[in-house]
């Protein structure tokens, strides 16, 4: 196997692997660039350079081991965090998704209106000389004319060639596009305002139909404003991502764009009563839920690990059975438990002969959430507690026993403290995980029960992350900027609690 690490074969293998990886990354760079994702494209291009420098030179040997991790960490952890921080300072919600340039283009393109009398014509696409033109048929009045972007020329009905529907397809000096030219002409013909009458023009509504229209909105780039050409209303940039009427700020042109509003999303969390009021209650429940989950799952897992730590008949079978809930996809388990807790048809009410509305009563719903999470979580703690118990030297317990300690004292004074030293980081990680356990809440209770009739946004089992989801995506309007701000607050909270707990448990010091 040494030839895979050193020598000519290893060198060729390295060249092939680095080449393939670079090729894939360059392909993704090109794709990202084509989709105007310039930051991603730049990141991928830089990654190719870094990979080449790292593996094809002797700049740093340790870097050869670290660089894949560093690149992935940057892409999937640091990048999203920076993006979330950035978006939390923007008015970024339904109606304000695209850039200002795109918004102006769309408002300009959609700033036309069909004529009030709804005149429409059949037409054929073609040219007058080299100029793009349409041959228009007014089949009701048997009139025909050729129109370009600047001129309109009437054509004698006797001079046109009609198809079976009475639509002109040929006229003097007018060259129709053949079928193979139609698709290539789509964009340029769609952008032309073909001359009709006065301010009215003919706009393509398909390859065979034109609608008489007029321009209603005009963009004035020098003043960065739109003018309604019909009633004279001015629409100016309101600084929040929309052009708003100067007469009535609530009248805006759509679409809007992502506009920086700095700390407004953060202040909204504390000033908007609909967001602020349930926040404290949800925060307290989140802490309670995470704590109770860690305590109950750890307690049950440890209990079972202690029970099965002694040689008993069928221990392997018991161990296998206990790991089953962990082996089953949690999504399936949650959905099955959701069905079992159903008031009318659920197995739990049927088995116990009760009529409990598990998901309608706040306390029962919270109990159900804790019970289901206990089911999902105890095998993990059983596994790690079993492993940790094996790691504790039996001599310590034997010495304590010789000194006269009873089993309870041995557990309390020796086993548990040693276990806690080993398991503290995992308990803290479990707390942080459950602090953001979106799947369980979303799939089991949907955050409910919630008294919608009293205008409550947060449900009784909503935790901070599901509450954020509701604010961001719970209604027709998706407020991604506000959701980013709340996500960052959650991030700071979880990080602070975890750091504090780690320091308190002195785990960091023991690692150091």
């Amino acid at each position: 196997m040494n030839f895979l690490i050193r020598g000519r074969v290893a060198l060729v293998l390295k060249i092939v692997i680095v080449s393939l990886l670079s090729a894939i990354l360059l392909m993704l760079t090109q794709s990202a660039f084509a989709q105007r994702e310039y930051v991603i494209a730049a990141y991928l291009a830089i990654s190719v350079l870094i990979l080449a420098l790292t593996y094809l030179t002797k700049i740093s040997i340790p870097l050869k081991f670290f660089i894949p991790g560093i690149l992935l960490l940057t892409a999937f952890v640091i990048g999203p965090i920076l993006y979330t921080v950035g978006m939390s300072g923007f008015n970024y919600k339904t109606g304000n998704i695209i850039s200002k340039t795109e918004a102006i283009e769309l408002i300009k393109a959609e700033g036309t209106e069909a004529s009030p009398d709804g005149i429409a014509f059949d037409l054929a696409l073609g040219r007058i000389g080299s100029e793009q033109a349409i041959l228009v048929s007014d089949v009701t009045n048997l009139k025909y004319f050729v129109s370009t972007g600047k001129t309109r020329t009437e054509v004698n009905p006797a001079d046109v060639t009609l198809n079976e529907y009475g639509v002109a397809i040929a006229a003097p000096n007018f060259t129709s596009l053949d079928d193979s030219e139609l698709s290539g002409a789509d964009k340029s013909y769609s952008e032309i305002k073909f001359k009709y009458d006065g301010d009215f023009f003919i706009a393509l509504e398909g390859l065979e139909t034109g609608i008489v229209s007029q321009q209603v909105l005009k963009y004035e780039a020098t003043n960065d404003q739109f003018v309604n050409l019909v009633d004279g209303t001015l629409y100016k940039d309101n600084g929040r991502g929309n052009y708003a009427s100067v007469n009535d700020e609530s009248t805006i042109l759509e679409p809007g764009w992502r506009a920086p509003i700095w700390f407004e999303n953060y202040s909204k969390i504390f000033t908007d009563p609909r967001v602020r009021e349930p926040l404290v209650r949800v925060f307290l429940w989140t802490i309670t839920f995470a704590l109770l989950t860690v305590i109950t799952t750890f307690a049950l897992g440890l209990l079972l690990a202690l029970a099965l730590n002694k040689p008993i008949r069928g221990r392997r079978i018991y161990r296998s059975i206990l790991v089953l809930p962990y082996a089953m996809p949690s999504v399936m388990s949650i959905l099955i438990w959701g069905g079992m807790f159903n008031t009318e048809f659920g197995a739990i009410n049927t088995l116990f002969g009760t009529d409990i509305a598990w998901f309608s009563d706040p306390n029962f719903a919270r109990t159900a959430v804790i019970l289901v999470n206990l089911w999902l979580g105890f095998p993990y703690f059983y596994l790690i507690s079993s492993g940790s118990l094996q790691a504790i030297p039996s001599e310590l317990q034997e010495a304590a026993a010789i000194d006269g300690a009873n089993p309870r004292q041995i557990f309390r004074k020796i086993t548990l403290p040693l276990l806690m030293q080993i398991l503290s980081p995992l308990l803290i990680a479990s707390f942080a995980f459950n602090f953001n356990n979106f799947n369980l809440i979303y799939l089991l209770t949907g955050g409910g029960p919630r008294n919608n009739l009293d205008g409550e946004i947060a449900g009784a089992t909503d935790i901070l992350i599901s509450y954020t989801y509701k604010i961001a995506f719970g209604s027709e309007t998706q407020d991604l900027g506000l959701a980013s701000a709340i996500s960052l607050i959650i991030f700071v909270l979880v990080a602070s609690i975890s750091l504090y707990s780690l320091r308190k448990s002195k785990v960091l010091e023991s690692f150091a």
Binding site: V18, S22, L56, I98, D179, E205, E208, N451
Partner: protein, 419 residues
Amino acid sequence: MNKKRLGFAGVVASFALAVSALVAPSANATTEIVVWADETRGANLKKVLAVKGDWVTGYTVKVQAFSTFDALKEAFDKATAASGPDIVLGPNSWVSAAAKDGKLAPLTLTAAVKARFNATQLWELSYKKKLYGIPVDVNNVAMIYNTDLVKTAPKTFGEMVDVYKSLKTSKGLKAGLCIAGGGMSWGGHSVFSALGADAFRYNSRDEIIYGRGFTPTVFGTNVRKYLMDGKKSNGFYPATDVGCKDNFLAGKVPYAVIGNWDWEDYTAKGFEMNVMPVPGVEAGTYAKMFGSVSGALLTTFAAKHGTEAGAKSLLVNFFGSTDGQVRYQAIEKRPPAEKGAQADKSVSAAQRGFGAAAALAGIPEIGAFLGNTSGGASYWESAPAYWTAVLVDGKDPIKEAAKLSLIWKANVVAGKKDL
């Protein structure tokens, strides 16, 4: 870095560039109109277009079928000019948000094309008076009754309750009337309406009445009279739709509100499609049921792809034509939206039955009202919450109805600006 290494790096870079150029994705040809649809509509569109694909001269149509409806929605939410479709098949509820986001482009139909559709259907695909697509299929619910349990169509809501009470024990009924299609909000509007609570109301001139909700005492009193036994539910109408379909198919529920997309499941079990609107408390009156349309929606990406005119032609020539809709709905089996296709002999009796029920008591699903949360909650959230509060938690039906009425009234008033 020595010369050898530099040369080596150059070789690698060249090789990488060469490979990447070979495998780089090519942009869509401009002769291709790209249509996005969900798993059933997309698959069926492919079949139809495989038989006849020349709906727009000079173009081919490429259909991308997504694995689920949610996957389609997610992809469309993330679509960009570089990756988005020219046309997307989606429900009317998508229109307002997608138009606000600049993803949908308006289109103007000629009078002849407009005449092929009901004005309501076109209105449902409009936002701020601009039309964004062509109606393709109609979704609505209607009430079916099990002729093994009841021989004739009920004339009043009270008659259904009496039937339930008389058969409850002998037939082991699980409920009297339940919602098997459309959920407790969309499908369940019939029961609200039958008892006197409508999400929004029309005057005699078919104009929406703003600023006046339903009367809580009338509705609450009816709930107490027909659905409750003291402070508890009498079992006639469950507060949840869970298990409704199975129970109806098992003969344990005499009346159920079902969706028109589901009718084959019922005929397969031998049920006749004797569908009707839910009867009101007075004979001859019927509950209002929501109807909605799914449409072929034009996107703003089409203009960027250089296929805007072709996409508009496809919308009119295929999606908006009798021939196109008959061919498509012959496989998709939903009620077609286009009038000529509705009259076609290929449309089944079941589809006609739903159409007749909708004609008798259908009202449009107006997203601007129903999804609005100005009153503290949307219609979608508050409707099932009422049944939970009253039928499960035993709260006062009139007091809760008063809260519901205020919410719905506020939402309708606030939603007016988005019409």
